[in-house]
């Protein structure tokens, strides 16, 4: 394992430990935010229509 990868793994472990040590209420706020982000992503990306239906004007 090279030095850079080792530093990345240590940083990830440190961040996980920091998150684990947060109060339960703060962790639940993060769950709220993660859920809101997931819903937003599903609305804006996955379910976006492939065509431009409804986005233009009808000529007739």
């Amino acid at each position: 394992m090279n030095e850079q990868l080792r530093r990345i793994l240590i940083a990830k472990r440190t961040e996980r430990a920091r998150l684990t040590a947060l109060p339960f209420a703060r962790k639940l706020e993060i769950l709220d935010q993660l859920r809101a982000r997931s819903l937003e992503l599903s609305r804006t990306t996955l379910r976006r229509p492939a065509s431009h239906r409804g986005g233009g004007t009808k000529s007739a």
Partner: protein, 175 residues
């Protein structure tokens, strides 16, 4: 915070006598002990009395109560404050024990109960999906498990051999 609103509704439901008690399980319960990770729903294990003359326990009174308070039923879930919440009666001795021994805590002053880490791991092992195995590894990695307590639970609920298989498969290369 939306989860706090969910807990406030469930606490009100308990005060109104619809359920006798509850505890948070699943990924949200695991968040009490681990770093938060995204989840689709909230699993609430509930205790309640069987109907008169019946040994069957049904979550229907919960659904009736919550829809009566304006929440929407969506399949197996009730949506409360934007969160799909699943109410699960304990289906065996392990979940019954987990419910009885859950840890009391609070969320910004809103009281609640969460399954013990060792029960969450035992239930995950019993359930046995890929995501359950991943969660068990998170618990092991976080070092939050009481090994003696976990061993006792696994032995009493017939999960010791399954744990041995799990160890051999996933923990064999740990130092």
């Amino acid at each position: 915070m939306q989860v706090k609103k969910v807990l406030a509704e469930i606490n009100q439901m308990q005060r109104d006598g619809v359920i006798t008690g509850y505890a948070i399980g699943g990924a949200v319960g695991a968040t009490f002990y681990l770093e938060p990770s995204a989840t689709l729903d909230i699993d609430i294990f509930v205790g309640f009395e069987a109907g008169p003359g019946s040994r069957l326990i049904s979550p229907q009174p919960i659904y009736d109560y919550l829809t009566g308070r304006g929440h929407t039923a969506r399949g197996e879930h009730i949506e409360i404050a934007g969160w799909p919440v699943q109410f699960l009666p304990p289906t065996g001795p392990l979940a019954e024990e987990a419910l009885a021994e859950a840890c009391a805590t609070d969320v910004d002053g809103e009281p609640t109960r969460v399954f013990l880490a060792e029960h969450l791991v035992a239930i995950a092992l019993e359930t046995g999906r890929t995501k359950d195995m991943a969660r068990i590894l998170q618990f092991v990695d976080a070092g939050v498990l009481d090994a003696d307590k976990l061993e006792d639970i696994l032995a009493r609920h017939g999960l010791a051999s399954r744990w041995t298989s799990f160890e051999q498969r996933f923990l064999g290369d740990l130092p």
